[in-house]
Assembly symmetry: C2
Homo-oligomer: 194 residues x 2
Amino acid sequence: MALDHILLGLLREPSTGYDLKKLFDGSLGHFWAAEQSQIYTTLAKLEKDKSLRSRRAPSLRGPQRRVYSLTTKGRRELRDWLRQGPEVGDQRFHYLAQVFFLDELENTDKAIDFLVRLREHFALRLEALDRVDAELVEEIPGYPDTVPPDLFFPVLTLSLGRKRIQATLDWIEESLARVRTLGEQATDAGGPPK
Amino acid sequence: MALDHILLGLLREPSTGYDLKKLFDGSLGHFWAAEQSQIYTTLAKLEKDKSLRSRRAPSLRGPQRRVYSLTTKGRRELRDWLRQGPEVGDQRFHYLAQVFFLDELENTDKAIDFLVRLREHFALRLEALDRVDAELVEEIPGYPDTVPPDLFFPVLTLSLGRKRIQATLDWIEESLARVRTLGEQATDAGGPPK
DNA sequence: TGCCGCATGTAATTAGTTACATGATTTC
DNA sequence: GAAATCATGTAACTAATTACATGCGGCA
């Protein structure tokens, strides 16, 4: 499971399940999601396997925290995962499955509607990534030409996220144009749309 | 579940579990994967829900086939799914998770190796999509300017697939250049690489 | 007083994968 | 006679989601 390995990677810096969840919602969020409950169960499993160890630590407020850190075994597993090469599992794109069947809707206006909503969604996602980028500009002098070593690869993933969303937005524009042409043809041939 | 809806969409043309699997490996393959066993269990569930019905039909060779087709209820569910707007669930990109932690490997050569392998993979994928495209050119006179209505939206999804892979390949080239620069800096500062 | 954020967890369910079972027909 | 393709299914397991339970401390 990849979540296993991601947690091992993140825990090169000791942390808690609660704080790890924030990393998912933040920096890794644009290519991986994990529920809080799944993080806790996976951490417990990894500790049982001796890939992680944990100790209790007091909290400033609220209950005691459980701080996890990597063991030698865990670090080995992390490296093995990376060395074994890219894992390119099949992706599932729900919205593309929907596009595939969009001819099922009564007329092209509904398809246009769908694509417009899709565009709104990706525009928001792009803005979110741009905000992350803006934060980096503020925090790191010389960014994007110079990046501290520990951020080098994370920044690369951010870059792909933006490129891919941009490609998707371009495709939506192009598709909207095509669907509009289709709609006009139908109107010309079959009278006014309802 | 989206697989439910995909099967409903595909079954506007009656078909069997066996043949549906081929559609996944073919046209839908670039954005959705499904195992044969999952297709069978989902079809059975959908029939129990009365969204599909099936009848037995003889086979030219091998055992009897079970041909599924949409019911009125199934068609309504398909439309509801599309009308409710884009489903943009969080995606999980295993290889990006790996890139995120690539600094764990001993030196930049290993990271370059990783990216080169990634490039090979996506180059193959792009070739596969190009072959699909080439088939369409042969089969459809006027493609890509004119597309029969039932292929219009499927062709759109194909188009996004190619754009996204192209964006990913561009990103890999750019990333390789950046990692190489990083490697040279390390060499200049810390002696020859091992 | 009641809500928000902190913090950890369990239980139930759904979705998806892997492995296995069965048997016919065609092709080499 | 062996391997590939046709064809359907079940069982066991793993991954992920949703719902629920608990309780502290600070703030309005």
